[in-house]
Point group: D2
Chain length 473, copies 4
């Protein structure tokens, strides 16, 4: 099951006056809410018991004071989840709490195993049973299996040798908060110092919210143990190259997060600047598609010296339960979300800046909206290269058939969107803007070359060399 998620782990010194990891995790999950709005959960360890609360809904809807107070202890983990496959069942929400021979373990997972079916089949062949549909239960089985055979660090080593795919994990085991990042570092995970202890989290914005300081990223292949007010690190695997997901920079993460030493805001600004260099086209104003295009547009505006304007206002109240109009009002949906400011667009040549184009349907409507507000020309500039292939590592994208760039030439895309010109950032330009070598990025969805062999992958057109996925040291 493909999932976008956010994970957190907090370990406070037992002597810490604020002896409540749960409250810290609650605030951290607020800061990571953009990574998953479907369900959320917190589990804590109070020295004797592990307790968890998880529910469908937003962090703000799930937890009240009484519940947080009931989650006692100086250690805890948390999770926000957005399932991309429709299996919106409470059973699949996290943290997953499991009982085993030596006690209780709680696990959260951000990422996607590409060999989970294979692993589950192996485990089922041993007679094991599965209650959820999540990769996390697979990880739990394997971890327990290894913990019963080996010492703690060795168990994680063996676990990581089994897992293929992306995984940033936080766990509660005994009196430890444990964090693990896959050997390719596909999904982000970082460590921060907070008052009275440490935090691990998907993004550094969660550290900021607690008034903490980002220490560093969890290294690809690293096992981090937070215990007794100390950080213990074990480099379990070491790959030559990494595969950091570029889409975290282009779309998914918060601009104010630092991921693998790059501030997302800066990456987006630099992409905006690079777009100026890479694409000609005389325009009068720079207009973002809010909210995701804003930082790109600011970079574009600064570099080009052209005015940054708000040509589209976003209605922040349009929610899930919105009642769709019938055919006769088919444009109302997009207008409810975005309204054009006519005087900013009328008679102008507009550079419309967006972070990415996936299926193209919304872009087409936005171009129409801008034209009908009187723009003379609409020049689309896109902060990601053409997306030609799906993501297998945890970002919810469409299938090949739905990806407009998988099926059309750039010129045909331009025609389909009704734009006067369209300019995607180049892959080289993207890589330079991120500031991380291409060999350390996952660019699978824009190149078709994945860092790991994906069983049954069909979008990519030509054979390419791939890393062996499992953990090697």
């Amino acid at each position: 099951m493909r999932e976008e998620c956010g994970v957190v782990g907090v370990a406070l010194e037992p002597s810490c006056e604020v002896n409540s990891a749960a409250l810290f995790i609650y605030y951290a999950l607020y800061a990571l809410q953009h990574r998953g709005q479907e369900s959320a959960g917190i589990a804590t360890h109070d020295g004797k018991h592990v307790r968890g609360i998880k529910e469908m809904g937003l962090v703000s809807e799930i937890f009240n004071k009484k519940q947080l107070d009931s989650l006692k202890g100086s250690l805890g983990i948390g999770h926000v989840r957005y399932s991309t496959t429709g299996a919106s069942r409470i059973e699949n929400s996290q943290p997953l709490l499991i009982n085993y021979k030596d006690g209780t373990i709680a696990i959260t997972h951000n990422g996607n195993l590409i060999n989970s079916n294979e692993l589950q089949a192996e485990l089922e062949a041993e007679g094991r049973i599965f209650i959820t549909n999540s990769d996390t239960e697979v990880i739990a089985h394997l971890l327990v299996k290894e913990l019963l055979k080996s010492n703690f660090v060795e168990a994680f080593h063996r676990l990581m040798q089994c897992l293929v795919g992306s995984y940033s994990l936080t766990l509660l085991v005994d009196d430890m908060v444990v964090a693990v990042r896959d050997p390719l570092g596909i999904k982000p995970l970082c460590i921060g110092k907070i008052d009275g202890g440490y935090i691990v989290a998907s993004e550094s914005a969660a550290v900021d919210v607690l008034g903490g300081t980002l220490i560093r990223d969890v290294r690809p292949g690293e096992l981090v143990i937070l215990k007794d007010g100390e950080i213990e690190s074990h480099q379990i695997c070491r790959h030559k190259n990494f595969a950091h997901c570029f889409f975290e920079y282009a779309y998914f993460a918060r601009p104010d997060s630092i991921i693998d030493e790059q501030l997302v805001y800066d990456v987006r600004r630099r992409i905006g600047e690079t777009l100026v260099d890479e694409h000609d086209g005389k325009v009068d104003v720079i207009c973002p598609v809010p909210d995701s295009g804003i930082t790109f547009a600011i970079g574009y505006s600064i570099k080009s010296g052209l005015d940054y304007i708000e040509g589209l206002m976003k209605n922040r109240y349009v929610g899930r339960t919105f009642i769709m109009p019938g055919q006769e009002m088919r444009d109302t949906a997009v207008k409810l979300k975005l309204n054009a400011i006519r005087s900013n667009l009328k008679g102008k040549r507009v550079a419309l800046i967006d972070d990415s184009i996936v299926r193209g349907t919304t872009s087409r409507r936005i171009v129409d909206l801008i034209r009908s507000a009187g723009a003379n020309e609409v020049h689309i500039r896109v902060g990601s290269p053409p997306i030609i292939s799906p993501c297998y590592f945890g970002i919810n994208m469409s299938t090949c058939e739905e990806l407009i760039a998988s099926n059309k030439s750039i010129e045909d895309i331009r025609l389909a969107l009704g734009a006067d010109s369209i300019g995607y950032i180049s892959i080289d330009g993207l890589v330079d803007s991120i500031g991380i070598p291409a060999r350390d990025l996952c660019l699978g969805c824009v190149t078709g070359k994945y860092p790991l062999e994906v069983p049954g992958e069909v979008c990519a057109r030509r054979p390419i060399e791939r890393a062996r996925g499992r953990c090697v040291i």
Copy 2:
């Protein structure tokens, strides 16, 4: 975990026009709602997939038309649950759906394993993990383990050799609805013929609701397979004696259910009649504690020729969220639930008929209520013998310390309740009223002699011979 529950299984002929087991199960669960009001669930098999819906709440609150329609298929099982240990977690609700090597199995369970801790420890020693706190997950692990080793019937044989305690199970396995009753037949389970197929259910009232006909009880130690419109029976175990729970007759089951060939109504009426024989005491009127004492009182009235009256009116709207008054209004709670009808009681010698006395606190308040309504004398008559020992097989009773009869003589109980006389039914009288030999009943809570050895059992005062719990054939 001790639980009171109700279980159902429905198998319709695939050709059946009403191709929806879910609707049948929904009505059947309505009829079994008294067996558990905490959560409910239904799972169905549509020939390809097993789907389940379960939630906290009453049957009427959980299911709507759309949800029932989504549970397609001609096979299904259902469950209502009342947890007695406070672990009111959705994770523990049923049916439990598990995936294993050969597919998906759904399980419901009514009863209580007394060796589940031991079994779980053995399974954990093999490296297995547990996600819920329920006995049912233990059963699922064992069943899958055996299914992978043996043929279907043999697997259940081996399973039942492991389980010690009470269990009436319904399962969905492949294209079968399966029902199992423990070798002692502690918890009820019956088979009925309904239009287009068959039903298994905890009580025959669920058969009646569907316009069906009770065929017979599932036999202790029997495995019943409903498949292709046929009933297949396998007598897996055969014990010399059974241990049918007498409390189902005295309190728990519906009066209109037939359990192990005895109509509960008739048993209660006969108990009422026997109470007349067993206890002297001149009284004027026969007054039940509503609702549980009603049928006993009718029997008492018919046998004694004395008038059956309603001396206490029950308020049917008093629910869980009731706001308790402070000390100054301490009698309001009982008055809200029960109001005395003065003119029926004033100046009368009242026989107050109840099904059982557990802790005695409510009885004390009711005696007070009747006295303050002007009764001259209050003579308590009780449809169960003194309860001296807890139940380990699924009925929620108190601990030894709380059981009034475990700690006081009959005379001291009378004094504590403030009654003029108190008359319990004798154990012999009870057995005769039920119409089943004592050797085939579980009378553990009134004798301290349990049909199975209970680890750590402390209430019973003297050593007694016990059956070996496991399945023997």
Copy 3:
């Protein structure tokens, strides 16, 4: 708008330690919940302000501790409501709070004005506006109009001269709780002494719940003022005769309530006894339709010396959200609510006792149920005379067209219901059983002769003499 409702008023001495009328009213409304399950409300006066909380739902669902605590004060009124016309709007729920020249008044109303359209038209002609659809707002307008012209008692005199119909009112005005009963005393209203003060309520069961003592009924045409720990009484109107609703005794009120000096339980028991006298027919067992037929059946059984049995078990969990089966399961609905106990009915001649027959559809299904359980004969005995005409004073009945007795002879009713015999109580028998002279009862629905002229009334077949409705002294 026709409504069934319950009303309460509580006045505690300001010095009373339990300075919270709201809690008392809360418990009293619990005791009156059977009079209306659609909405409930409480308003209190804390010496300075009147505050109210009202919502759709049951008393137990609406109020929590925090809300009751917020309703401060030693004076208050409360209301439960069931609307019979579908106007289930929160705007129509009560107490109605209105601001006027001299402060705030809160009003609750049980009953139905038959001249409310006329009154509203008169008030509208003066330029007044109406926000709710309830009679209560009409009363509020008239009361305020008179309060501004006259002294307090005189104002109520004038008000009652305007109102035609049934009305039991409780009001909060300044530092008084006020209770009013219409001159014919159609709807019940009584006064009780409780610890620290007084209560007025629709039924005496609400007094009992608070541990109080019934003092007496509010007299028809009486104005009662509870103030400073005193009861002040003003006999505003005096009619020669009254018109107490007989249906309160036969169906609507609780058996444990005393209304106009008659215990409802006794009335029902006596009706049961009278039915024995009035109707022959050899039967073996006496079986009530639960719950409403129970007390009648007890009386019938005692008088006839025949056994009282439970032939039908009622499922107490069938609620509003029940999903109706399709045509193929058309009998499931009644079976879900009522299950026949075969062994109590098989081969028997059954006297089936019900409180009343309105449309006859449910009765038909119950007769079928009893026959298919094997009864040899079914003899219906009914605690009300044939209902031939609608109620205009607050009981929700059907229209003429729907009333089976309005359209069929007794023999045709018997045929329609499929019974072997049918015996209604006679009007004389009913009157004797109630113990109140016919001239002081409203028997409109069984005689077609209403105590007040009903505009547009069409069911009654012949001209009859009627009282002038308005208050005369």
Copy 4:
């Protein structure tokens, strides 16, 4: 009661194929949701009946497809409401539906009457009663009073002669949608042409959402009648000057709305530009307080040629139920809402742009946040002049005591906020930026000179000439 609200009215041609005003109103209310998030309601007229639905909550939470379908008709009005006084009662939500002599009227109101107490007292002196606490009920009484005396237009003339304060009304009367704007035009109201009819709405963004075209503002003192597909206009009052609320431009309205012929976005951009002219201070970057400071900052950036940056990221998930941390985490609250982007601020001289400063507490925390992110200097620039006096016409501001500028000099404010400099826009600069002469603006909160005499007003320091408030022609 002071309220911020949004109002809508829609009149479609009866022949219009989309015969559902309710759906149009639903979308329009979505576009006006920023004007009130506490409750919402819609009322429609289907040719015979007026029906309304209103509830506490957001538009998206209140209405589902079934409810909208039940609101039939080609005419309707709608309302979103935010109460500023805590009287969050459903009774006060709108539209208010009232019945009167000639039928049903529905009313919505945006604004605040300053003589409502006086008017209500007059009406109460006539014996009238009030059920809600809203000005709207006062208006309803007066309107009905006049309608019964005069012809339709004359009635509104007389009504407007009574009302003093701000009021933009939409009404449903008979087969008309009616819109009224107070003589000073304090609150906005505009007319748009939509497919099949017309719309009146608080802001033109609601017209845009329906794909319509803004026709013009409703004129101060104008009565607009939408009927039979025609617009009928009556200029009821004519004042020499108007008093358009400047705060709609500076804060309250959407940037994409055109109010009194000025696009809000343009006003804010021009204010930003003017701030550059009015205040020196060498800065490096222009940083808005999101979201309200954004457009000002864009203007400031364009005019100054300095880079527009995002220095503060806003968390869009922080909602009402947010659990406040204890003292030890006192900065978490602001950090949850706003996170500083260090690299954009470090070592920079930052111009921090906000729309207004009311109490100053949040500004103080933001300055701290920016400083602790490493900014060298923080220069606050504010899009409104110092707010020295409360609003009496519908904007929720603080009392005199709480307004920082009412009690401190500019230099003291700077010190209190910890800024290196603070620059408010001048009143002249504001007026020029708006593009409307000062004589036609309400600047009461920044000058203390109100367009109408406010009873009991104490903040303003010196006597000033004021318009007579009532309607004069």
